[in-house]
Amino acid sequence: MAVTIEIPTAFRRFTDGEPKVSSGAATVSEALNDLTARFPALSRHVRDEQGQIRQFLNVYLNDEDIRFLSGEGSTLKDGDKLLLVPSIAGG
């Protein structure tokens, strides 16, 4: 089983330029941990000092914001796509 994590351009300097990373994680939380274990420099950009996903980073599972699902506990299935998008637009 594998899910794909899509990396925004701004994060790619921490992922050796990789735009996509594959993971065998079963939940969103595990997938993010997997990602930051592989690219430790990314860690503090994904989570804040309290270990929460940073306030200005939106995480989407397929097309849905994970806050409308079960948050970090949302479960993943084969072929799912995780998208990391900085929260910058609006108005």
Binding site: P8, Q55, F56, F68, A89, G90
Partner: protein, 418 residues
């Protein structure tokens, strides 16, 4: 001369040179334009304003504009209307409406933000500009983009009000309709800005765009005779405007143009999309995003990018946030029109309705000066209230017909009053 403005991270404080970039490379928090206020204090003088036209460019020194900038449109400079009926009926003597429903050229406060964003777009060499929009912003980008010769593409939710779509299309802008709500459009635009070399005013040009909103605040202070109000009621969509009005007031106090004052900031949302108001009322550390369901489409942003900052500002200023239902929004649009002669779009119904609620709750004191921000024109959202005003009976062009009608209305009036 060295530029007096630069980009700065709102969370970690890291400084960046002026570039089309809207978030910090270190902590991914939003960037905003910051100024060397000491240098600004030497070049910006309140007295020089006396010789300038009343529009947003009179505050040029306080905006991120390149040296020698010449504006091509007289944007802003909207009326601050003292309430004659609405405020007094609630016991408030000093209540004002800042009326951006008549902002030039597209009848919303978005004309201000697009003005500063397109200056940045030109400076950074973009040929194509665009935005993700709930309507008003698309109108403003399309109009000013056309006037300034940009290729313009806007992204909107597919089910936007027809008037707002038409008011964009007429300027020749390309319109991409997205099957989804504004938050979906927004996410797509963030990805587009990542991929294409386009100047998206509220994405990669966002720091410069947002600064335009400050002029709404400068004008309020100047129109009050260079005094700050006690309370401001501001509509919240992405949550940016409320913070920029606060920034404007702080800057004026810092420059010594007004006496410093602890202004209370009150946020207004529609109940059908009220993530920030909900966060304030439930005292949440982080707001919960919502799926918008309201007629106030211009405020229908369920995941507001500046929500965290708005939440903090409202709390720290001693203000509050409230929300009103769709029927209350319609009633408030009618009330504002029928008491003050101002026809606001649904967002104006939201601020008016929320202002009344806050006064009734005594969160806004009746002996204080309060400004209610009207940010868009009612002609853009006629669908929302059309059902309340069915066509009246037509009569023959004869005096007898009119007399009969008067008699009939008199009778109906008597019956209605029984």
């Amino acid at each position: 001369m060295k530029e007096v403005y630069y980009l700065r991270c709102r969370e970690c404080g890291k400084k960046f040179a002026n570039t089309p970039q809207s978030f910090c490379e270190e902590c991914f928090s939003p960037l905003e334009v910051s100024y060397d206020y000491e240098a600004l204090g030497k070049i910006a003088r309140r007295e020089t304003l006396a010789h300038r036209a009343f529009n947003m460019w009179r505050y040029s020194e306080l905006l991120p504009l390149p040296e020698g900038f010449k504006p091509s449109h007289d944007i802003g400079g909207t009326p601050l209307v003292k309430s004659k009926q609405f405020g007094p009926s609630l016991g408030v003597k000093n209540l004002y409406f800042k009326n951006d429903a008549v902002c030039f050229p597209t009848l919303s406060f978005k004309d201000r933000v697009v003005a500063t964003a397109l200056v940045a777009a030109r400076r950074f060499g973009f040929k194509t500009v665009g935005c993700s929009s709930t309507g008003n912003l698309a109108n403003a980008v399309a109009a000013q983009g056309a006037q300034q010769g940009f290729d313009t593409t806007v992204f909107i939710p597919a089910d936007l009000e027809p008037a707002k779509v038409l008011n964009t299309a007429v300027y020749g802008a390309k319109i991409v309709r997205i099957n989804g709500n504004y938050d979906h459009v927004n996410r797509l635009c963030t990805q587009i800005a990542d991929r294409f070399q386009w100047g998206l005013v509220n994405v990669n040009l966002r720091p410069y765009y947002a600064e335009g909103s400050k002029t709404h605040g400068y004008e309020i202070a100047e129109q009050l005779g260079w005094e700050l109000p006690d309370n401001v009621v501001v509509p919240m969509a992405g949550g940016s405007l409320i913070g920029k009005i606060a920034k404007a007031f702080c800057e004026l106090a810092h420059l010594g143009w007004v006496e410093p004052k602890q202004v209370k900031f009150f946020g207004a949302q529609a109940t059908g999309c009220s993530p920030i108001a909900d966060g304030v009322k439930r005292n949440l550390a982080r707001f919960q995003p919502q799926k918008p369901n309201t007629i106030a489409r211009s405020l229908a942003i369920g995941n507001p990018a500046d929500g965290p900052f708005a939440l903090r500002l409202i709390r720290e200023s001693g203000g509050w946030a409230e929300d009103v239902s769709d029927p209350e929004i319609i009633d408030s649009i009618k009330l504002l029109a029928q008491t003050e002669g101002i026809f606001a779009e649904t967002a104006g119904g939201v601020t008016t309705g929320v202002a009344a609620k806050l006064i009734q709750q005594r969160r806004i004191r009746t002996d204080e000066t309060t400004v209610v921000c009207i940010t868009g024109n009612g002609l853009k959202t006629t669908d929302a209230i059309a059902a309340d005003f069915p066509a009246t009976q037509a009569i023959a062009p004869k005096l007898e017909a009119f007399e009969a009608l008067v008699a009939q209305q008199l009778e109906e009036g008597v019956r209605a009053n029984r």
